[in-house]
């Protein structure tokens, strides 16, 4: 069963393309697909690269390419079905195409590269003022402009409340929508990313804390003889990665500056490891004295939370052997890596590598300390 190529065995790939609403591509295009590489990372933009076989008199070189089927800003949705369960892997726009014409027959390729729908938010610079709006409402107001691409906002209120005050400060946006939304997410310890799915043509824009609770995905097994699902897994433990930020805040009435207390980061990031790593570095944040108190506290919390992950793992797995697609930005358990590194991890990024006959995933994991918190890993 596992020797079967993609398309006949348990893995099926479906491409849909179109200017704004997508339709299934002609069968010749799917057949010409040589490889697909899709990268999805927490808090960053996802990207894809598809390579097509471009035969001399094929439909791609004769009709589709000149007619603008692969033009920039064409929308492309990649769906993969593994064992009858469908998953939308990617929803994005074509940015760039490369044609490699070769003297050898059968070696001419068309490579299409693109980015996910956040590219739309990054095209146009905008100056806008948001009087009396807290950060989450500013984000919601921005995201509502993109609903005709099927982007549904999934926005959460900030952890540290920052009541806006029009008389004190009016928040201004300079730069693109994506820059401003990402900046607001960083200032609150949140992440912003687009999650494609659940059906093609839809995606949800999450502006909120990283998902570090809930049911884990199927565990990654390493070094378990026949039960191993992961080809290799490397862990790194960087002691200097964690830093303790310090922020001073000045009271505008009394002109006294006080050191803000260290906030607990567990509400923003529920701990995954039993032994959290102490912070070796201490850094002072600049510019917090003149901010409003809520804003300064939020930034302190955000910096402390972002640098908390010191253990990182990377590896690759074969989806046919694993039986499931590993999803980024969710939790997964690891078994067989020894007592120190077993347990639950947050999946930071996943790169899907599809080609006829194989579906490989490269992934990176992270958490903040050694040893598992519970003695049970969801299989």
């Amino acid at each position: 069963m596992f020797d079967m190529p993609v398309g006949q065995g348990p893995v099926h790939i479906t491409l849909q393309m179109g200017p704004q609403l997508v339709r299934p591509v002609p069968a010749e295009v799917t057949e010409a697909l040589l490889s697909a590489q899709i990268t999805a990372t927490a808090g960053e933009r996802s990207g894809f690269q598809l390579a097509f076989d471009m035969t001399k008199n094929g439909i791609i070189s004769r009709r589709l390419l000149p007619e603008g089927f692969f033009d920039p800003k064409t929308r492309l949705v990649v769906t993969v079905t593994v064992k009858g369960t469908t998953e939308v892997l990617f929803d994005g726009l074509v940015v760039r195409q490369e044609v490699g014409a070769s003297n050898q027959p059968g070696h001419s390729t068309l490579t299409v590269t693109g980015e996910d729908l956040t590219l739309l938010m990054d095209l146009e610079e905008r100056t806008a003022r948001y009087p009396n709006l807290p950060p989450s409402e500013r984000v919601l107001a921005i995201l509502r402009r993109y609903s005709d691409y099927g982007i549904r906002p999934d926005v959460y209120t900030e952890k540290v409340a920052q009541p806006p005050h029009q008389d004190l400060r009016v928040h201004y946006q300079t730069g693109t929508d994506l820059q401003y939304v990402t900046e607001l997410a960083h200032a609150n310890g949140y992440t912003f990313y687009l999650e494609p799915g659940p059906t093609p043509g839809q995606s949800s824009a999450r502006w909120g804390p990283e998902v570090r609770l809930g049911i884990r995905q199927h565990a990654l097994n390493v070094n378990l003889d026949a039960n191993s699902t992961v080809d290799q897994l490397t862990f790194a433990y960087d002691g200097t990665a964690r830093e303790e930020p310090q922020a001073r805040w000045q009271d505008p009435d009394t002109r006294l500056s006080t050191l803000l207390p260290q906030p607990p980061i567990s509400p923003l990031r529920p701990p995954l490891g039993k032994r959290p790593t102490p912070a070796l570095k201490r850094r002072t944040l600049s510019g917090t004295a003149k901010q409003q108190r809520g804003q300064a506290e939020a930034e302190l919390l955000a910096r402390a939370a972002i640098s908390a992950d010191v253990v990182s793992g990377s590896g690759s797995l074969d989806v046919n052997r694993h039986g499931y697609i590993l999803q980024p930005r969710q939790l997964v358990g690891v078994r067989g890596a020894g007592r120190a590194y077993d347990g639950d991890y947050y999946v930071k990024s996943v790169t899907h590598n599809l080609r006829p006959g194989s579906f490989q995933q490269n992934f990176t994991l992270s958490r903040e300390g050694l040893e598992a918190r519970s003695d049970y890993v969801r299989p």
Partner: protein, 125 residues
């Protein structure tokens, strides 16, 4: 249009926070809560209703399979989806009460959902 969720809800709608895995036919079913007389809550899976079947002339979503001797729903699922546990998708596409009815008689034509098909449930993943 959705509004802003309070921070406490951020971890509620966790992807995959459902007792059934994505491959299960109960993944899209709703989870109900029954409160017993003594106040304890019992969670249960609500009855799963099949989505409306596609129109007969619409042959995009299904392909036909003529049952041969020795066919079983799980063998068909292995052949078309690569996973014998997905036989319920075939049973859903041709509503039968007992899945064994599907392959009882040789020569019967069975609708097989296309393997690259899309999930019909509207539950968020």
């Amino acid at each position: 249009m959705t509004g802003i969720e309070p921070y406490e809800n951020a971890f509620d709608s966790v992807p995959g926070a459902h007792p059934y895995p994505r491959t299960s036919r109960y993944h899209d079913a709703e989870i109900g809560i029954h409160r017993q007389a003594d106040g304890t809550e019992v969670r249960y899976t609500k009855r799963r209703l099949l989505p409306p079947l596609p129109a007969l002339d619409d042959d995009q979503e299904t392909q036909q399979h003529t049952v041969a001797a020795g066919d079983r729903p799980d063998l068909l699922a292995q052949r078309y989806f690569g996973d014998p546990g997905q036989w319920w998708q075939i049973a859903d596409a041709n509503p039968v009460l007992d899945p064994r009815e599907l392959t009882d008689e040789a020569g019967r034509v069975v609708d097989i959902p296309s393997a690259g098909g899309f999930p019909r449930g509207d539950r968020r993943v």
